[in-house]
Amino acid sequence: MSAQTPVIEMRHVEKYYGDLHVLKDINLSVTKGEVVVIIGPSGSGKSTLCRTINRLETIGSGEILIDGEKIPEEGKKLAQLRSQIGMVFQSFNLFPHRTILDNVTLAPVDVLKRNKKEAQQEALELLKRVGVGDQANKVPAQLSGGQQQRAAIARALAMHPKAMLFDEPTSALDPEMIGEVLNVMTELAAEGMTMLVVTHEMNFARRVASRVIFMEDGAILEEGAPEEFFEHPKTQRAQAFLQSIREH
């Protein structure tokens, strides 16, 4: 494997939901340490794209490669691949019947067969790192949205993923909690985590993204460095979209 092999690579990916063409000839690669931000109007297929990468959604045609290897289609192999890609959801999806600590240790112990004590120790460190160390023994419902999302990030990190997918991680949060989550993500990026982030947080994209991708109607319309994209969007649709979110 050369240093050039992208961590995530999508080649000519197409997907339909019935008649709806949700992904149109998607070509995309994310190399190690890159932070790629996807923006685009609601319904443009950003979530679907994200979810095909760990095969929560199947694809119609094309290829998705992780570290140069095709995603296994089913079974233990697929589960193993998913364990190497962290995913953070808009709605957190913490396990409500488990404590925060259990949320973080469940997969390392169950899937990676890590020693429980060690897993707990590491989980506590991770929780401290994202700023919810003192919430470890509570259940998710006892935490604020921002705390839950940070715990969800810790849960994903506990699997030592080689890349992280974020699908609008701050969209369900009250405004005053968005910053704390973005800070954690910024730190992660600074530590060299490979990240694919769907977000409308333009400041975050400007500061952290290596590249910005603009999607509309299932297709990638534009791709470029953040300053360039935000200052001089090439397509009219991207201009219109940026205009519309700036107005808010």
Binding site: R51, N54, L56, G75, K76, A79, Q80, R82, S83, Q84, I85, G86, M87, F89, S91, N93, L94, F95, P96, H97, R98, T99, L101, D102, L106, A107, D110, V111, L112, N137, K138, V139, A141, Q142, L143, S144, A152, R155, A156, M159
Partner: protein, 278 residues
């Protein structure tokens, strides 16, 4: 942050205002008076017909009466607990099959579920009492009541469990899969524990039905509480007193089950946190 204690009731009904409260009070008052009058009338009728005469109650002072009822009660509980365990196991298997993606498997399961739900318990009891022995397999009275009661309840249990599974948000499965769990592991570790908690009240309600269905035991001459009560009734020629006592025993057991349901439902959310601290 405070725990979320709102129930469905809070969505269905508004908090009553002052006028409504007055009406509720008047209604409650009338209902209480009516109830008191009804109880008085029943007691009075019993009195007039001599149900409180000593000969109908004196045998309750004898230890042997209670031992006899106790033995019946023990059998009732053994039947109920065994039937409950079997019906849960069957219900679980049916639910898993019902949620299977292979059409043949889920259709068969759906068929069995509708069948067991549609057929009255009594018919299953007669099946095990009259039809099943024709196969040449000998069952004791205990199994002749336990099996039909279990089979008759398993479809309802399966559907209850399935509704619980369907009530777990999709994101839970996705989060589990994204962490590298297989479908099976995500089901047992993440989805089912939540689903089970959702349906505890329904399952307990079904246990109450199982308990009530065990009273068919007299048909297969299994000496349960009801059967022994009948023996006492004919021995002492004392119907009302014995029925009253036995009814109270059944009510107490069901009351206990309901209390259990409440306390499980209340503890559900915090059980794991308590365990983690221990």
């Amino acid at each position: 942050m405070s725990k979320n204690n709102t129930s469905i009731r809070d969505f269905l009904y508004e908090e009553p205002g002052p006028k409504t409260r007055t009406w509720i009070r008047i209604g409650t008052g009338i209902a209480l008076v009516l109830l008191a009058w009804l109880i008085y009338a029943v007691i009075d009728r019993f009195n007039v017909t001599g149900q409180f005469r000593e000969k109908y109650w004196i045998f309750f002072t004898r230890w042997t009466t209670w031992r006899f009822l106790g033995e019946g009660l023990l059998t009732t509980l053994r039947v109920a607990v065994t039937a409950g365990a079997i019906t849960f196991a069957l219900g679980f298997l049916l639910m898993r099959a019902r949620l299977n993606r292979h059409t043949v498997i889920w259709r068969i399961s759906a068929g069995i579920i509708s069948f067991t739900r549609g057929v009255p318990t009594l018919l299953f009891v007669y099946f095990f009492f009259l039809v099943f022995p024709k196969t040449g397999i000998k069952l004791t009275g205990f199994w002749k009541i336990t099996l039909p009661v279990a089979i008759s309840a398993c479809g309802v249990v399966a559907e209850a469990l399935r509704s619980g599974v369907n009530a777990v948000p999709k994101g839970q499965r996705e989060a589990a899969l994204s962490l590298g769990m297989t479908e099976r592991r995500s089901f047992y570790r993440v989805i089912f524990p939540q689903a089970f908690r959702f349906v505890i009240p329904t399952l307990i309600a079904e246990m109450v039905i199982v308990l009530k269905d065990t009273t068919f035991a007299y048909i297969v001459s299994c000496a349960d509480l009801m059967q022994n009560a009948k023996v006492l009734i004919s021995n002492y020629d004392a119907l009302v007193s014995i029925y009253l006592v036995v009814a109270v025993i059944y009510i107490l057991i069901n009351y206990g089950l309901n209390k259990l349901s409440d306390s499980l439902a209340r503890r559900g959310g915090t059980m794991e946190s308590r365990r983690a601290k221990a």
